[in-house]
Amino acid sequence: MAQEDLIAAFTRQAGVMGAQILPVEGRRELGKALAEALKPCGRRAALFASPLVRETNLEEALTAAGFTVEKDGPDFAREADVGIVEFDYGIAETGTLAMDATALKARLAAMLPLTCVALLRTKRIRANLTEVIEAYLERGSWPGYFTLVTGPSRTADIERSLTIGVHGPERLLIVLVGDEGGDDRGR
């Protein structure tokens, strides 16, 4: 499948699974677009530093837009409204995000706040789980903590009524960052 088709399939499926999608054409637009989208979610953002975050000066952009950006500390992400993390891959078939989440802060930022922002380079969308597993295996050692995320946290335990956001995020915003220049091999 051509990359455009994979992106379209991923977008569709992630939407079905309850995620919101924010397409951003190039890395330069990321900061502004994200700050705008996050306005209704609260001002405290826990940010996990990743290559994309650094390349796009995301921290500065958010601070400039009035956000308090948290990057460290023993209580990291516990009180934050938003957690921002870059994911490694997207899976078109199920609208799933994949990440090597061995770094503690990557996990905490993605789990604890009510809103999770998942940054994903469109070039990193693959057709299915098998392809993603192969990609990690090729890197050599398998990640210590590997995570697949599809949509927000959900439960149907009371009267089978679907309710969003029980232990994990209530809102999953996937920012699809276009491939205008830059490295696509990532971490």
């Binding site: 499926q13 503690l104 789990m111 210590g144 590997f146 995320v149 029980v166 994990g168």
Partner: protein
């Protein structure tokens, strides 16, 4: 467990309207959503893959466990091999004690419930907090049991949950689901942030990498394995698979079959210890994996039951089980419910503990159709029943009926003839016959019972067996007890239809009961002796085909005889020869008509069109696979309009002696069937099983309906 306690639980569940309503509503929508979520997937291929992966793994747990252990240890984790529940509990307790843990957060784990970990820790001053919402609610309700493997609290109405929360918080809580979920999030978040240890189960464990895979929707497993500084994973041996790539088909099937989702919100894969918060800084988490045996390796060494270790715990077998829908998981009594649950209980607990739960299976085979691990659950339940009987013996009544009468055809036939003379005019409380002939009793509630025929088929055949001018085929008719003694007219119809098709039919007088009642009661001895009797009698007929018009008999002749006589050099080959010649009546007609290439005849049109609906008998559809053939035969018959009923392949609740043992389960299953029949607008219900006919006629009679129930043979015979 005491049988009395079991009965009490059964009646409590059957009388619980909200439980039944919730399970039924769920089951109805589940069937549709499951189909949707599998659309475009090759389910048959997927289950082959899973069965192959898990079946292979079950053959080499020792090797995989060793490889898994090496991989985890290479990363710095610890693996403890627990032979039984006690060893597992004690190890986990010691880990907690070593770290001075007072509070533990747990993500849902069957294995931890299996070893009764919560009570053990609690008694030693450590408080376990369940964090899966349903499990937490149940934990706050002492004495309450999970009612479903995947949705343990599906039976609780929101008002009940609100009462539980109110009590917990000491303040009134409104029965608003969204708000209650928020409360759970708030309360459990505190536990996650302060607990000294997290305990999880695992859905899959990969030997190659030492990875444990956990699926959740709520995200509690991620928190429980991330926030506290110590993580203990309890993993049954049956979760082991060799390679990382093996997880793909399992992850494809588990959520699709379980809750009809393409994937769970979170899939977490943990390989060795990872960074964690320790004190004020970051350190490395402590990881302990408890590999739990507790009967699993014994099961893997058992050539019959090894197959059950392929189970991925998706619970789709219970979702489609007509019995489970009525009684729920609360009745099965142990951690694992449904047909598969009774099998697991036999190994993880004891054979005695499985005796009552296994008896709940009516054998409809619905579960086997949907199981993504391709486990033949109903056959395993029967094997289990055999072992229970071997160990505990048959009940007195059964022993007398089976050994004393059914196993002695001459005596049985004499008694049946006597009964037919004694039953007198049609009265209430008339004697009746079942698949287990000779249960003279009065379980007639909700279903009238037929009288025994005055002249059995075996005495009528003299008048039916005229030489044919030109015969295409020589057939021996194996009637089975119900057609012989209750519905000889079905037998007559078979003769008529086959005669018309140019088949010469004989009735071997030496034939006896097929042994199904003995097989379903777990009485192997009687079944074996009947198999031999029948083989000898049917061989004598020297026929090209053996025709039956009862699917239960067909399964006995085609499949059970071979199994019963396997390894017996004098009989094995004969059983196989016989099996190869057995054909169901409708199947034979279908084939004959096809080979003729005969177009539907125009005759009979003037009689008008009759609306016929078709009831799929469980054995006929799921064992013999003849559901399409029956419909083709019927629709090729002029004057018939086939109207499909809802849930045509749902069990009618007969199950032979099952309806005597569990009339309180059989009856509501029948009621649902009758509703669907009546809603179809048909004048006639056609089916291919005399047992179903008995059940359906009885039920319709009680409701005063004038819908007729007919064997396909009777419908075909009726044309001029």
């Amino acid at each position: 467990m005491a049988a009395k306690e079991f009965r009490e639980r059964l009646h409590k569940a059957l009388n619980n309207a909200s439980l039944r309503g919730a399970l039924e509503r769920f089951a109805d929508s589940y069937i549709i959503s499951r189909e949707e979520v599998y659309r475009g997937k090759d389910f048959a291929a997927l289950r082959e893959k899973i069965a192959a992966i898990k079946g292979d793994a079950a053959g080499r747990y020792e090797e995989l466990a060793a490889q898994f252990t090496r991989a985890v240890e290479a990363r710095g984790g610890k693996v403890f091999r627990a032979h039984d529940a006690a060893a597992a509990r004690e190890y986990i307790y010691q880990v907690a004690k070593e770290h001075g843990v007072t509070d533990v957060v747990k993500s849902k784990s069957f294995a931890s419930e299996e070893i009764h970990l919560n009570e053990y820790l609690q008694e030693r001053g450590i408080t376990p907090h369940e964090t899966d919402l349903a499990e937490w609610i149940l934990q706050l309700m002492p004495g309450e049991r999970p009612s479903h493997m995947v949705m343990p609290a599906i039976h609780l109405p929101k008002e009940e949950v609100a009462r539980v929360f109110s009590r917990y918080l000491g303040e009134p809580v409104e029965p608003d689901i969204k708000n209650m979920v928020r409360i759970a999030r708030r309360e459990l978040r505190k536990k996650f942030l302060t607990a000294g240890m997290g305990i999880s189960g695992a859905n899959i464990a990969v030997a190659e990498t030492g990875t444990i895979v956990i699926c959740t929707n709520e995200g509690n497993a991620r928190l429980a394995t991330t926030v506290p500084p110590v993580h203990v994973a309890i993993v049954g041996y049956e979760k082991l698979v060799p390679k990382l790539k093996d997880i793909v088909p399992i992850l494809e099937a588990l959520p699709r079959s379980g809750t009809a989702q393409p994937i769970t919100s979170y899939v977490t894969m943990i390989t060795g210890p990872v960074p964690a918060r320790k004190g004020d800084g970051e350190g490395i988490k402590e990881l302990h994996v408890v590999l739990l045996d507790n009967g699993r390796t014994r099961m893997a060494a058992d050539p019959v039951f090894k197959e059950a270790l392929q189970c991925i715990r998706c619970a789709s077998c219970t979702n489609v089980c007509p019995v489970f829908q009525l009684v729920s998981g609360q009745v099965y009594g142990y951690i694992y419910s449904g047909g598969i649950g009774s099998i697991l209980t036999a190994f993880f607990n004891s054979l005695e503990d499985a005796a009552d739960p296994q008896s709940l299976c009516i054998g409809c085979r619905r579960c086997a159709e949907v199981c993504p691990a391709k486990i033949n659950i109903p056959d395993l339940v029967l094997k289990l029943r055999e072992r229970v009987v071997e160990k505990q013996g048959l009940s007195r009544a059964y022993r007398i009926a089976l050994h004393g009468v059914v196993a002695k055809p001459r005596l049985m036939h004499t008694m049946l003839r006597a009964a037919s003379r004694l039953q007198g005019p049609v009265t209430h409380g008339r004697p009746f016959i079942r698949h287990l002939p000779l249960y003279f009793s009065s379980f007639t509630e909700g279903r009238s019972l037929p009288a025994i025929a005055r002249v059995p088929l075996r005495d009528r055949v003299k008048n039916l067996e005229g030489a044919l001018r030109k015969s295409r085929l020589r057939a021996a008719f194996y009637s089975g007890c119900v057609i012989d003694f209750v519905y000889p007219e079905i037998g007559e119809a078979v003769y008529k239809v086959l005669g018309r098709e140019g088949v010469e039919v004989t009735f071997p007088q030496g034939q006896a009961c097929c042994g199904a009642p003995a097989i379903y009661a777990g009485d192997r001895e009687t079944a074996v002796s009947l198999a031999k009797l029948n083989i000898a009698a049917l061989e004598e007929a020297k026929a090209d085909v053996i025709v039956t018009a009862c699917p239960t008999c067909a399964v006995a002749l085609k499949k059970n005889f071979i199994e019963l006589l396997a390894g017996d050099p004098a009989w094995e080959g004969r059983a196989k020869d016989l099996a190869a010649r057995v054909k169901d009546f409708t199947q034979l007609v279908h084939e004959l008509k096809k080979s003729e290439g005969s177009a539907p005849e125009g005759k009979g049109r003037d009689r008008g069109i009759v609306k016929v609906t078709y009831h799929d008998s469980c054995h006929f559809k799921r064992h013999l696979g003849l559901d399409r053939a029956a419909r083709e035969v019927l629709t090729s018959q002029p004057g018939i309009e086939l109207v499909e009923m809802r849930e045509s392949d749902r069990c009618c609740g007969f199950g032979g002696s099952y309806s005597v043992k569990y009339p309180e389960i059989s009856r509501p299953i029948l009621e649902r069937k009758l509703k669907n029949i009546m809603a179809s607008g048909a004048e006639i219900v056609a089916t291919d099983c005399p047992g179903c006919i008995l059940q359906l006629r009885g039920g319709l009679d009680q409701t005063g309906s004038d819908i007729q129930v007919k064997h396909t043979a009777e419908i075909l015979a009726n044309k001029d």
